[in-house]
């Protein structure tokens, strides 16, 4: 025990103020338990097959895909912040960069993990690389996400090597130093990849001409959802970072980044969200009046079935789109931390709702004239598996926060912040 205390103490950066080992362990225990449960549930699905879930031939996608899409949208903060800092030289966002990388890493690796459980033959995952069908949006997604995950890992390495014990190994320290110099390259690549796969995730549904609820006209090879997803992802990424940071600040009991960072993130998020909502509104009108009518589907076919009423669409566009956009940009509200966070939360839920609708409602709605509207509720295995991923995220973030310099590049800075 004493030994553990010493170890823990030695891993924490010199001068950094962290909660006591005891409290940290107590904090981790429930999450570790949840993670263990999740691994068990996932094991069931892998061993007995997907009959453990409540998905079926109509609901071929379920809760997992929906939450994966959500997670990846939330993780967009990582590439976007990197893009802002290294490409657009927004140096004042540097303090949250490391945190953003960790959040991104968690979201993407978590999503990948769930996908591996979600497919029927995980051992064949690499077929997608070996026999790629370049027409498929899913191929684009697979390629980009796995590459970007690699990038995220490479971006995480320098942060990891800044751990107090690791930096004692000269070769690691020098490597960190050298890699750090090249991070802008990675940031650029990451931005490129994310841009495409965020889009392709939207394209995933936009290309389904067999599902008029999801099918959209587009530009070149990309349906409109391609661009909507990119826009919504980069809009909501910063918001999610704000929420995460705020949460960490609450737990740490002190401010980790300056208010200016929040305001800036909020503003970027808000402006992009506004653009997204506008684009989405136009897209919806075109789709309802031209695209879907052309193939004999009326709005009634989409919004006649409860709970998927038109109220849901309104909710997505106005209360969870327009309003947060204003909350995040208007100086009146943006100056108040509370409003800012509230806006961020609304924005995130709005994009989550969008992913939900596209995944679940698309499949629930009838296509053939004599189809029935179907319901689906996930099985406990599905829920617990995903809860496990959340737990994994919390654990990884907590460890990173405790032992790595996530906020502020220098301990000095960290100290200053913690004092001030």
């Amino acid at each position: 025990m004493g030994n553990l205390l010493v170890m823990d103490r030695r891993l924490i950066a010199r001068g950094a103020e962290r909660t006591s080992t005891m409290r940290f362990v107590l904090w981790l225990v429930p999450w570790v338990a949840l993670l263990a449960l999740g691994i068990y549930a996932a094991g069931l699905c892998l061993y007995y097959g997907l009959n453990q879930t409540h998905m079926d031939n109509r609901f071929a996608f379920g809760m997992w895909i929906f939450l994966d899409l959500g997670m990846i949208a939330m993780g967009a903060g990582a590439f976007f912040t990197g893009f802002l800092v290294y490409i657009l030289k927004q140096e004042d966002l540097k303090p949250i960069l490391n945190s953003a990388v960790v959040v991104g890493l968690i979201c993407y690796s978590g999503a990948m993990a769930v996908l591996m459980v979600d497919v029927g033959q995980p051992l064949r995952a690499w077929f997608t690389f070996w026999h790629p069908n370049t027409h498929s949006m899913l191929t684009e997604v697979t390629f980009c996400i796995s590459c970007y995950l690699l990038v995220l890992i490479l971006e995480y390495v320098p942060v990891l090597l800044q751990n107090r014990q690791l930096r004692k190994v000269p070769s690691f320290l020098v490597f960190e130093h050298q890699l750090h110099k090249l991070v802008p390259v990675l940031a650029a690549v990451g931005a490129f990849l994310s841009f495409f796969h965020q889009g392709s995730l939207g394209g995933l549904y936009g290309v389904l001409r067999g599902r008029p609820f999801a099918f959209r006209q587009g530009f070149a090879i990309w349906p409109s959802t391609f661009f909507l997803f990119i826009l919504s992802a980069i809009a909501v990424g910063p918001s999610f970072l704000m929420l995460v940071t705020a949460a960490v600040e609450t737990f740490a009991g002190r401010r980790l980044v300056g208010a200016n960072v929040f305001r800036k993130l909020g503003f970027i998020s808000g402006v992009l969200l506004g653009a997204y909502v506008a684009a989405k509104a136009i897209d919806t009108l075109v789709w309802l009046n031209i695209t879907s009518r052309a193939v004999g589907f009326t709005p009634g076919d989409f919004y006649a079935y409860k709970p998927f009423g038109s109220a849901l669409m309104f909710l997505e566009i106005v209360p969870l789109g327009l309003i947060p956009a204003f909350l995040l940009t208007l100086p009146v509200t943006a100056r108040k931390r509370g409003w800012l966070l509230c806006g961020a939360a609304l924005a995130c839920s709005g994009v989550l709702l969008n992913r939900f609708v596209l995944t679940v409602q698309t499949l629930a709605l009838p296509t053939l004239a004599f189809d029935e509207f179907l319901q689906y509720t996930p099985s406990w295995q599905e829920v617990v598996t995903f809860a496990g991923v959340i737990a994994y995220g919390v654990i990884l973030y907590s460890l990173s926060y405790r032992y790595l310099p996530l906020f502020g590049q220098t301990k000095g800075a960290d100290k200053n912040v913690s004092v001030g």
Partner: protein, 250 residues
């Protein structure tokens, strides 16, 4: 010359007996249901669905619509979305072929198919002890976790080709190749043939004024046609119930 195999299914003749479903399963080594399987998790490469005109009393009418893979000829949704080319349209025959040994089980194709004609192997294929001896040697059993669907009994096409090759013929004898469902239908409601061949009965049947295709306006060019003399049945072709006259084009 390349064929365009397809079906013309006469709904007036379909009594919904289900012979096509069982014959298909037996021919293609589709496993019997797992005890926990339901109509939503079953494996029915051809599925006969009951439809009604929604009227009450004596005006109430019912019909049966066999649904199999439509072997879409244009923008084939499943082929376009499959990330690893586990589905492809055979140039020679127009058959949309599913390759289970290539399938990852991502089920993206199932979300893409508007006809719900694709099925996922939710369970390991299992037969009662000894029954595996009754399996069709021409067809490989699919493993758990992959998607399958109607392949127009490719195994039969294959043996027909072999027969033709053995006889030194280039073209197969149409009599040698008929899918199990069409062969099994007791009323001859399921007509199979080469839509590209003007002399083939299906070609003319597909052009009859009673012929229509499901969701034709989506533009996927299904190669399964339906026939009915009843307007309420024709109206099932599209969601917004067009007039029977509109039902053919698209």
């Amino acid at each position: 010359m390349s064929a365009r195999y397809g079906f013309v299914i006469d709904l007036d003749r379909c009594t919904g007996c289900g012979a096509c479903m069982v014959a298909c399963a037996a021919e293609n080594n589709v496993p019997p249901a797992n005890p926990r399987a339901t109509p939503r998790t079953g494996l029915t490469p051809i599925l006969v669905r009951k439809v009604s005109n929604g009227m009450e009393g004596a005006a109430h009418r019912e019909a049966f619509i066999p649904i199999a893979c439509m072997h879409c000829g244009n923008e084939t949704p499943c082929v376009r979305v499959c990330p690893q080319q586990a589905v492809e349209v055979d140039k020679e025959t127009g058959i949309v072929v599913q390759m289970p040994q290539r399938c990852l089980g991502c089920r993206y194709c199932m979300t893409a198919c508007p006809y719900h004609a694709r099925y996922f192997n939710w369970w390991d294929p299992a037969w009662p002890a000894g029954m595996e001896r009754s399996l069709n040697p021409g067809v490989a059993v699919r493993m758990r976790g992959v998607v399958e669907k109607c392949n127009m009994c490719s195994a039969r096409l294959h043996s027909a080709k072999e027969k033709a090759a053995a006889a030194g013929r280039k073209e197969i004898d149409p009599a040698d190749y008929i899918p199990a469902c069409a062969e099994a239908c007791p009323t001859g409601a399921i007509l199979f043939g080469n839509l590209a061949d003007k002399n083939d009965p299906v070609a003319s049947a597909s052009h009859s004024s009673d012929a229509f295709r499901l969701l034709a306006r989506i533009g996927t060019e299904p190669k399964v046609y339906y026939k009915s003399t009843e307007d309420w049945v024709k109206a099932l072709a599209e969601r917004d119930s067009p007039q029977p006259t509109e039902a053919q084009h698209g």
